[in-house]
C-alpha cells in the first residue's frame, strides 16, 4: 500500500483541467473534504479525474465525487476517469446510475400555530367521541356474553383481580396509613387550641372515609393499572396479536376488555375498604401515641361521629372510578399504533386522563352529595 493511499483524509488537488484525488474516501473521513470540494472547477474543457492516490473508497465517498460531477455531465462537459481501481469504478458507476438524490424532495406537512391549535381542538372532540364509541361497544359485548357462561373468561378475570387488586395491597395499605397519620397529626395540632382533641376521630373518619380513602386507592390504581392495561394491549397490537384474535373470529372486547373492567370493578372497592381501614388505623395510632387518646375512646368517638352513610358515600365512588380507569387503559391500548413510540404516548395519556377523570368525578360526587344532603 502506497504512502498516499494509507493517509486517512481525502485529498483534492487541481492542476489545469485535471483533478487529482488521494487518500481515504469513506463516510468517516469525508467531513474533512467538504470545505475543499466547494472550490470551483475549471469552467471550460474536458475534466480529467485522476484516482491514482485513492486508497479506500465507499459508497458515501463515491457519491461525494459523483455529486460534484453531475452538474458537469448535465452541462454536456466531458469527464474522464483515469487510474481508477476496479472497486472504485464499479462503485462510481453504481452511484451515477441512480437518479439524483438531491432532487427528491420529501413533502413535509407544515402547520401554523393556528392550524395546530385547531387540529388539537378537533382531536379532543374526536377522542371523546371515539372513547364513547369504545364504551358503547364494550357494553354491547357485555350484553352479548352475559347470558353465556362460556364467555365469562373467569381465569382471565381472576388473573386481573390478582394483578390489579392483590398486588396493590401493600402500596395502598402503606400510603393510606401514612395519610391517616398526617390527617390525625394536623387535626390534633388544630383541635388542641380548642381543647377538643377528642374530635380528631370524627375529623379523620370523615375525611378518610368520604374522600381520601377512595381517592388514594383510585389514584394509585390509575397509575399502576391503567398504564399496565395500555402497555399490554398496545404491545399486543404491535405484535398483531389483536388482529390474530379478530382473525380467529373472536372478540377482543370480550377477551381483553371485559375481564379487565370486571376485575377492577371488584378490586377497587375492596382496595378502597383497605385504604379506609388502614387510614383509620394510622389516625388511631397517631391519636394514641401523639394525642394520648385511648384506642377505645377513638373507636367510640368514631362510632358516634361517623355514620355508615359516610362509609357508603365513599365506597359508592369506587366502582365508577374502576370503570373509568379500566376502560381508559384499554381504550388507549387499542388506539396505539404499531410502534413503540405510540405505545409510550398512549400509556402516558391513559395515566394522565385516568387521574384527571378520577378527580373530576370525585368533584361531581361531592356536588351531587351536597345537593342530596348526604
Amino acid at each position: 500500500m502506497s504512502e498516499t493511499a494509507s493517509a486517512t483524509r481525502p485529498r483534492i488537488r487541481l492542476e489545469g483541467n485535471t483533478v487529482y484525488l488521494g487518500g481515504t474516501w469513506t463516510a468517516s473521513t469525508l467531513e474533512k473534504a467538504y470545505a475543499e470540494a466547494q472550490r470551483q472547477l475549471p469552467s471550460e474543457g474536458a475534466i480529467t479525474v485522476d484516482f491514482s492516490g485513492v486508497g479506500k473508497i465507499d459508497t458515501s465517498g463515491a457519491w461525494f465525487i459523483d455529486r460534484a460531477l453531475r452538474a458537469l455531465h448535465q452541462a454536456g462537459r466531458e469527464v474522464n476517469f483515469v487510474n481508477m481501481g476496479a472497486g472504485a469504478r464499479s462503485l462510481l458507476s453504481m452511484v451515477s446510475e441512480q437518479p439524483d438524490p438531491r432532487d427528491i424532495k420529501l413533502a413535509r406537512p407544515h402547520f401554523t400555530f393556528l392550524q395546530r391549535t385547531g387540529h388539537a381542538a378537533v382531536r379532543v372532540g374526536d377522542n371523546a367521541l371515539d372513547y364513547l364509541a369504545f364504551l358503547g361497544e364494550t357494553v354491547f359485548h357485555w350484553g352479548q356474553v352475559f347470558t353465556k357462561r362460556r364467555h365469562w373468561r373467569l381465569p382471565m378475570f381472576f388473573t386481573h383481580l390478582e394483578q390489579t387488586g392483590v398486588n396493590a395491597v401493600p402500596i395502598i395499605g402503606l400510603l393510606s396509613m401514612l395519610i391517616g397519620v398526617v390527617i390525625a397529626y394536623q387535626g390534633l395540632y388544630l383541635l388542641q387550641n380548642y381543647g377538643a382533641t377528642a374530635l380528631v376521630a370524627k375529623l379523620a373518619g370523615l375525611t378518610i372515609l368520604r374522600e381520601l380513602g377512595p381517592l388514594i386507592a383510585a389514584i394509585v390504581v390509575a397509575g399502576r393499572t391503567s398504564s399496565a392495561f395500555t402497555a399490554e394491549i398496545g404491545a399486543m397490537r404491535v405484535s398483531e396479536e389483536i388482529d390474530a384474535i379478530v382473525a380467529m373470529g373472536l372478540s377482543p372486547a370480550e377477551m381483553l376488555v371485559l375481564p379487565r373492567i370486571f376485575g377492577l370493578l371488584i378490586a377497587l372497592p375492596l382496595l378502597t375498604v383497605l385504604a379506609d381501614a388502614s387510614g383509620l388505623l394510622g389516625a388511631g395510632l397517631t391519636a394514641h401515641f401523639v394525642g394520648g387518646i385511648a384506642p377505645e375512646a377513638f373507636a367510640d368517638e368514631l362510632a358516634h361521629g361517623v355514620s355508615v352513610t359516610t362509609l357508603l358515600t365513599g365506597l359508592a365512588k369506587a366502582p365508577v372510578f374502576a370503570v373509568v380507569i379500566a376502560s381508559l387503559g384499554c381504550f388507549h391500548g387499542f388506539r396505539a399504533e404499531s410502534n413503540a413510540e405510540s405505545v409510550g404516548r398512549r400509556t402516558t395519556r391513559s395515566v394522565v386522563q385516568s387521574i384527571f377523570f378520577v378527580i373530576v368525578i370525585d368533584a361531581i360526587f361531592s356536588v351531587a352529595y351536597s345537593m342530596l344532603h348526604l
Binding site: T26, A27, S28, L30, E31, Y34, D58, T59, S60, W63, F64, R67, A86, G87, A88, S90, L91, M94, V95, Q98, P99, P101, R102, I104, L106, A107, R108, E337, S338, N339, A340, E341, S342
Partner: protein, 266 residues
C-alpha cells in the same frame, strides 16, 4: 502493525463455541473461520441455531463457552472497544427492526448521524442514495416504517445496514418475504457491493437459488454441529445422507414451486 494483523486475520474466528438456552444446547463446540471477502451462507433446518450463530458473531449473544475473535481482536468486556468493532459491521434483522418513530430516510441516515460528523445535507443525500440503491422507490424515503409492506421494510432495513458501508455484513434471511424477482435483484445488489467494497458477508437463508447465485461457501448446521462446510456445489454433491436429506427436501420445495409456476404459465 495492528492494521497488518487485521489484514491477515479472518474476519470472524470462532473457537469451541457452545451455547445453551436453559438446558437446550444450541451449539456444541463449534469452531469456524470466516475469511475476508467471503460470502458465507448458513443453512440448516428451523431451530438449528443459524440466527443464534450470527448473533454470536455480531456480539449480540455471548456464548456460554468458547472464544470469538472479530477482525483479529479477542473480545473481552471493554464496552468502548466493542462499540468500535460493532460500527464496522452491519446486521440486518429478519424483520427489519426499523425505528418506528423515524421516517425511512431518517432510519437509513441514523448510523451516519451517530457515527460521523458529516453535514446533515450530505447525510440526507447519502441516505436517499442508499434507499434508491436497494431498489426502493425514491418517494418511500418520506414514509414511516408502519406504512411499508414487508418487502419494502426488508429493503429499507438493508439500506440502513449499508449506511456506513460496513466491512462485514450479517444478513438474517434477506430474501424471505420477497417475490423472486426482488430477491434476485437484492442478491445482485449484495453481489455488486461485495465486488466493489470487498465486503465479507454471512447470511442465513432458506433460498437455495440465492445460495448458488451468491455464496462461495455454505455451512450446514445440524443438531448444534457443523454438518458440512464447503462450496455450494460441494455440498450439493455430498454423499452424507443427512446432507442429501436436507437438500432434497429443500430442492423438492423449490422444484414444486417452479413446476407450479410453469403450469400457471409464469
Amino acid at each position: 502493525m495492528n492494521d497488518l494483523t487485521e489484514q491477515n486475520a479472518p474476519v470472524v474466528r470462532l473457537r469451541n463455541v457452545s451455547t445453551w438456552f436453559g438446558h437446550h444446547m444450541v451449539h456444541d463446540d463449534i469452531s469456524l473461520d470466516v475469511r475476508r471477502g467471503e460470502i458465507v451462507a448458513l443453512l440448516g433446518g428451523s431451530g438449528s441455531g443459524k440466527t443464534t450463530l450470527m448473533r454470536v458473531m455480531a456480539l449480540l449473544h455471548r456464548p456460554q463457552s468458547g472464544t470469538v475473535d472479530l477482525f483479529g481482536h479477542r473480545l473481552n468486556r471493554s464496552g468502548e472497544e466493542l462499540q468500535a468493532l460493532r460500527a464496522r459491521m452491519g446486521y440486518m434483522f429478519q424483520f427489519g427492526a426499523l425505528f418506528g418513530g423515524f421516517t425511512v430516510r431518517r432510519n437509513v441516515g441514523f448510523p451516519l448521524i451517530e457515527h460521523t460528523s458529516l453535514p446533515t445535507r450530505l447525510i440526507e443525500e447519502i441516505a436517499q442514495l442508499k434507499i434508491q440503491l436497494v431498489g426502493l422507490d425514491p418517494a418511500v424515503a418520506g414514509l414511516m416504517p408502519s406504512e411499508l409492506s414487508g418487502g419494502m421494510k426488508k429493503r429499507a432495513a438493508l439500506a440502513r445496514t449499508l449506511a456506513l458501508d460496513p466491512e462485514f455484513l450479517l444478513l438474517d434471511e434477506p430474501g424471505s418475504g420477497l417475490d423472486p424477482a426482488s430477491a434476485r435483484s437484492l442478491d445482485e445488489l449484495i453481489g455488486r457491493l461485495h465486488a466493489a467494497l470487498g465486503l465479507t458477508v454471512v447470511m442465513v437463508t432458506h433460498d437455495l437459488t440465492s445460495v448458488q447465485r451468491l455464496a462461495d461457501r455454505a455451512i450446514l448446521l445440524h443438531e448444534g454441529n457443523i454438518l458440512a462446510d464447503g462450496s455450494p456445489r460441494e455440498l450439493l454433491a455430498s454423499e452424507d445422507p443427512r446432507v442429501r436429506y436436507f437438500f432434497q427436501l429443500e430442492l423438492k420445495k423449490s422444484q414444486s414451486v417452479s413446476t407450479t409456476m410453469a403450469a400457471r404459465g409464469i
